[in-house]
């Protein structure tokens, strides 16, 4: 079996870019999104219509990828949603929606994929964090808190899965010009970027560079880490 990558949230943005990135590196790639993939499916890519917070859908998807591709060597838990709002104006339903995708979804996909990886005694898992957590950004309480939970999941999963030769890490991007941040007012984004050591927007290549490092076979002594971009710590 060659390398197989499962990437969640691949309909657009960073997830879509990661599909092309892994295909270019010779991986068989599978991915999922709640809505249909935008444009024609690239050769070598399998797409699933699945909500990562739906346990049944995740179990079925992961087992199907295992059966079709012979295993899963890399998981990138990219699917995520954000919402900017003052705490006093945030409906509970928004918080539930954010946690459902960002935390429960990351947990579910990680759990099911780790079963596949544990049988093969090898795996690389990369979760998505955010600089909004260490920066304690006003207006992002629920989003930052959900990603703080992802960081905690990452650290503990790293310990629990280490005996199976599975590493679990997270990448914490700065804002990248995707749909996730397009609705955020420019002055807010500018203020955020000024808090970074390197004051610029992130680019897809910044993220894939860190992911490439984390999923490398040589990175077998790197686990439980969250790597923030832009000099945020």
């Amino acid at each position: 079996m060659g390398d197989v990558a499962l990437v969640t949230g691949t309909r657009k943005g960073i997830g879509r870019h990661l599909v092309d990135h892994f295909l270019h590196k010779g991986y068989a790639v599978a991915g999922c999104s709640r809505e249909a993939f935008e444009g024609p499916l690239p050769e070598g890519y399998r797409h699933y219509l699945a909500d990562v917070a739906d346990e049944r859908a995740v179990v079925d998807m992961v087992r199907d990828v295992q059966n079709s591709c012979g295993g899963i060597t890399v998981l990138v838990n990219n699917a995520g949603i954000a919402s900017m709002n003052h705490l006093l104006l945030t409906p509970l339903s928004t918080v539930e929606r954010i946690f459902s995708t960002n935390v429960f979804g990351t947990f579910l996909v990680m759990r099911e994929v780790a079963k596949v990886m544990s049988a093969a005694r090898y795996g690389r898992i990369v979760n998505f964090a955010t600089v909004a957590t260490p920066l304690d950004l006003e207006g992002e309480a629920s989003y930052a808190a959900s990603k703080a939970a992802v960081e905690s999941l990452t650290r503990i999963a790293a310990r629990e899965l280490a005996p199976f030769n599975i590493t679990v890490n997270a990448v914490g991007p700065t804002p990248v010009m995707t749909d996730l941040v397009r609705s955020v007012p420019k002055r807010k984004l500018d203020a955020l970027i000024r808090k970074q050591a390197i004051a610029r927007f992130g680019e897809q290549r910044d993220i894939t560079n860190v992911i490439d490092f984390l999923v490398s076979r040589d990175s077998d002594f790197v686990t439980g880490q969250t790597i923030y971009l832009g000099g945020v710590s």
Binding site: V59, D60, R63, K115, S118, A119, P163
Partner: protein, 100 residues
């Protein structure tokens, strides 16, 4: 699919995983063989591996994707992971539930 077939699947899976997990006593298991929670049996990591292996085996043999460690299983007063037989019972119940 009946209870005997399901138990047999669990026995075969445990037997197949025994060497890899490093438990000689699991090479020829029976329904009474202890798995987890008593004096004998496997450590928690090995149990995790076994549960994943049984789920996978059930999928291959019966074509059903099931999750054994669900809320019901984890909150049972008497652990369903005590012996090979109780794990077989749990698997049979989950397979039946999927079939509706």
């Amino acid at each position: 699919m009946d209870e005997k077939q399901v138990l047999q699947l669990v026995i075969e899976t445990v037997s197949r995983e025994a060497d890899d997990l490093g438990y000689n006593e699991l090479r020829v298991p029976t329904a009474e063989t202890s798995l987890f929670g008593g004096e004998a049996g496997v450590d928690s990591l090995s149990l995790v591996r076994l549960i994943a292996a049984v789920e996978r085996a059930a999928e291959i043999q019966f074509g059903r994707n099931i999750v054994l460690a669900d809320e019901k299983a984890m909150s049972m007063r008497s652990s369903p992971f005590r012996t090979v037989g109780t794990l077989g019972d749990l698997l049979y119940q989950r397979l039946r539930a999927v079939d509706g």
